[in-house]
């Protein structure tokens, strides 16, 4: 399968990339890892006239902590997240997530920024980032005084299937995740038919505790709606409890009720709701175990 013709551009700086996107307008697309975009171009589901390859922007390839926040550069590869010691120690939910994305070869190129910017509800990072209350930093054209930067809360980012709050000439530059605060734990669970497949469903759970009582909960779901689904009622039901198995199961039921799956080759609507229920409960119990010091 041969993609349609396009003109290739390889800027070497963020400013140059933004200028190109501004000049080329809506006919241009950003090329990051290319592992969502190139398959779509081969199927002619995407036929951009211009590709702006941002793989040369190595200053967007980082994973580091700043005061109170984990900063992931848009060009950090899934394989880097999977192997990072910082992530394994302090943010195991992100390791859970990157490890189940596609296969090792895809993860060598696929980027965290692309996974979010693509706006595919089947992608795994979106739900995790919703549960974590992340923020997305974007850069667009701007004058001297205005750097053209803005920060978007994750709940405002996903608008529909493959639709996000990004404007055509904006680049997602960074994802910011609040550092774990006090006693807390988080986990991601996904059910897939085989390695490399998108989720039948996935569930991310982030729990904060005050002593033995849950003080805050973030629950979000993969591939059971037009965007990642935040299960607000499940979150509310956990707050104030000790997060017993019963509490987790009840939250799982509320998450299943909040999900909006569509029956397809991965299973019927009913089956997917049952999967959401079980995965949510398991993610919650794993998050609790991690909050208590387990891994």
């Amino acid at each position: 399968m041969i993609p349609g013709s396009f003109n290739y551009h390889a800027p070497s700086s963020l400013d140059e990339a933004i200028k190109l996107l501004e000049d080329l307008g809506e006919d241009a697309k950003i090329l990051a890892g290319g592992h969502s975009l190139i398959p779509m171009m081969k199927l002619r589901l995407a036929e951009p006239d211009h590709l702006v390859d941002i793989n040369g922007l190595s200053d967007l390839d980082y994973i580091r902590e700043d005061v109170g926040v984990l900063c992931i550069g848009a060009m950090a590869r899934e394989s880097a997240l999977e192997k990072s010691e910082l992530i394994a120690e302090k943010y195991p939910i992100l390791k859970d997530t990157s490890e189940v994305i596609a296969d090792p070869l895809v993860r060598n190129l696929a980027t965290v920024g692309g996974n979010i910017a693509h706006g595919d509800p089947a992608n795994d990072h979106p739900a995790t980032m919703v549960a974590l209350d992340a923020e997305v930093v974007v850069r667009g054209p701007g004058g001297l005084l205005d750097s053209g930067g803005r920060t978007i809360a994750i709940d405002d980012f996903f608008r529909g299937p493959l639709m996000t709050a990004l404007a055509e000439n904006e680049i997602l530059t960074e994802i910011r995740v609040p550092c774990p605060n006090g006693k807390s734990g988080a986990a991601y669970k996904k059910l897939e038919r085989k390695v490399g497949d998108y989720a039948i469903a996935g569930a991310a759970a982030v729990l904060n505790f005050d002593g033995d009582t849950c003080s805050k909960a973030g629950i979000a779901l993969t591939n059971v709606g037009p965007t990642p689904v935040r299960a607000s009622e499940a979150q509310d039901a956990l707050v104030g409890t000790s997060v017993s198995q019963d509490d987790a199961d009840k939250a799982g039921e509320l998450a299943a009720a909040a999900s909006q799956p569509v029956g397809d080759h991965r299973g019927s609507e009913e089956y997917k709701r049952a999967v959401v229920k079980v995965l949510t409960s398991r993610a919650i119990m794993k998050a609790k175990e991690r909050a208590a010091g387990g891994n």
Binding site: F6, G34, I38, L105, N108
Partner: protein, 163 residues
């Protein structure tokens, strides 16, 4: 038709080519360079038959544009053999790691990436490392043994070299 002149190193040899922007790396390797060891199995980024090393990292060359390899180094299955077969090639032969052989070049390139980063992998780590490569014939058992063979052999040679 947008074209670019690119220069890259394939298996240690510098090559310059005038390519269409949309040309996929796997087509550059197979058609322009006549290195047909790299296979196209699915063309949809699933099977891994097209796996090559790009600056030492295993990637599916059906999902990279040739222009993206400009100035970079590509290693294909043809680049594995030195004076003698590479221990991975030898392992696949000794342990019957192939039947039809269609997946083998990709399997070997993924395994090369794995052993470069983890010289002594467990069986689970090997299975994980080749999980982006599909084989319709072997049932994977002997592929795992082939990689173990190579891992042992490579470690013996490093130890000998170190003495």
């Amino acid at each position: 038709m947008a074209t670019q002149s690119i220069t890259l190193t394939i298996n240690g040899e510098s090559r310059t080519a005038e390519v269409e922007d949309r040309l996929l790396l796997v087509h550059l390797i197979r058609d322009n360079c006549a290195l047909t060891g790299t296979h196209i199995g699915c063309d949809t980024t699933h099977c891994g038959a097209c796996t090559v090393l790009l600056d030492g990292t295993a990637v599916k060359s059906c999902t990279v544009f040739a222009v993206q390899a400009n100035g970079r180094e590509v290693t294909t299955i043809e680049g594995m053999e030195g004076e003698t077969l590479h221990p991975l090639q030898e392992g696949f032969m000794e342990e019957h790691g192939l039947q039809c052989g269609f997946c083998t070049p990709g399997m070997i390139m993924s395994s090369k990436h794995l052993l470069d980063h983890n010289p002594n992998p467990t069986e689970d780590e090997i299975r994980w490392g080749i999980s982006g490569n599909l084989c319709r014939c072997t049932g994977y058992q002997n592929i795992v043994k082939a990689v173990q063979h190579a891992s042992n052999k490579l470690q013996e040679t490093t130890e000998e070299g170190g003495e």
